[in-house]
Symmetry: C2
Subunit: 136 residues, 2 copies
Amino acid sequence: MHYSRDNMPGLLRSHDINPTHQRIEIAYALFSRMEHLSADQVMALVNVYHSETSKATVYNTLNLFLQKGLIREVIVDPNKVFYDPNTRPHHHLYDVESGHLTDVDAQDIHISGLPPLPKGTALEGIDLIVRVRKAG
Amino acid sequence: MHYSRDNMPGLLRSHDINPTHQRIEIAYALFSRMEHLSADQVMALVNVYHSETSKATVYNTLNLFLQKGLIREVIVDPNKVFYDPNTRPHHHLYDVESGHLTDVDAQDIHISGLPPLPKGTALEGIDLIVRVRKAG
DNA sequence: TCTAGAACCTGGACTTTGTCTAATTTCGCG
DNA sequence: CGCGAAATTAGACAAAGTCCAGGTTCTAGA
Ligand SMILES: [Mn+2]
Ligand SMILES: [Mn+2]
Ligand SMILES: [Zn+2]
Ligand SMILES: [Zn+2]
């Protein structure tokens, strides 16, 4: 499900985020495409026509979205983090050469045999990453 | 199984790596502890008594070890990569607060329902990361 | 033993990704 | 409108990592 720009204020408010111009643009970059984007890519997308959003605001806003649970982060590349507008439980397939990242539905996948968590710790999440490269 | 310093030249040669003084020290830092270390931590360990190995050499050597299959890298933290002397198939449990990383044997774990790989790609590896934090 | 090339190591400049801060702009509201 | 709070900004700063030109060490052959 993709979103239009008009959906953004409501989406932001539903996550307790004050919808400002910059926040709407950043949310729209992510939710109109429903793709995994790095901070750099978000920065480029919101500034295509004329520069209107600073680097500091891009990072502040992405971290705010993260903290409010509007997006999640995906750590697969040693050089940059990807921001993911899909917050439903899912896993990732990562092409280590092209850097292309795609979703794998969690519904179909079963993981068994996990050890019990260490005493005094709570589960934060389980990340499953399938790394592939061009066959040769 | 831990290693002594005397094992290092043979270990390096068995992976087609010329054993130099710096390479032996770096391998020893990893294989004597059998722990996940960042480049920074390796750097500190090989230079405890007097500075003898440069930053460039630490990074060059870790990447050489990686390429030769002597160690593997673990990408769980957005800020640094961890180098892992354990190359047997295994997964990881990561405490997002303390940054502590522990191994989870792959033997016991079964993952089912993975989709077929995209045409023309080969599996590079499957990383499973269990993220935990202090309960509260 | 001497020597030349290859391999290796080094300091430091540079790059990338991201954070911080102090000053300014915009927003929400009475 | 006019005030205080919230948000944004430019640019300095920081951490992780790469690159390069020059220097050192190793090795094989004469
Ligand atoms: Mn950027
Ligand atoms: Mn990095
Ligand atoms: Zn995703
Ligand atoms: Zn490990």
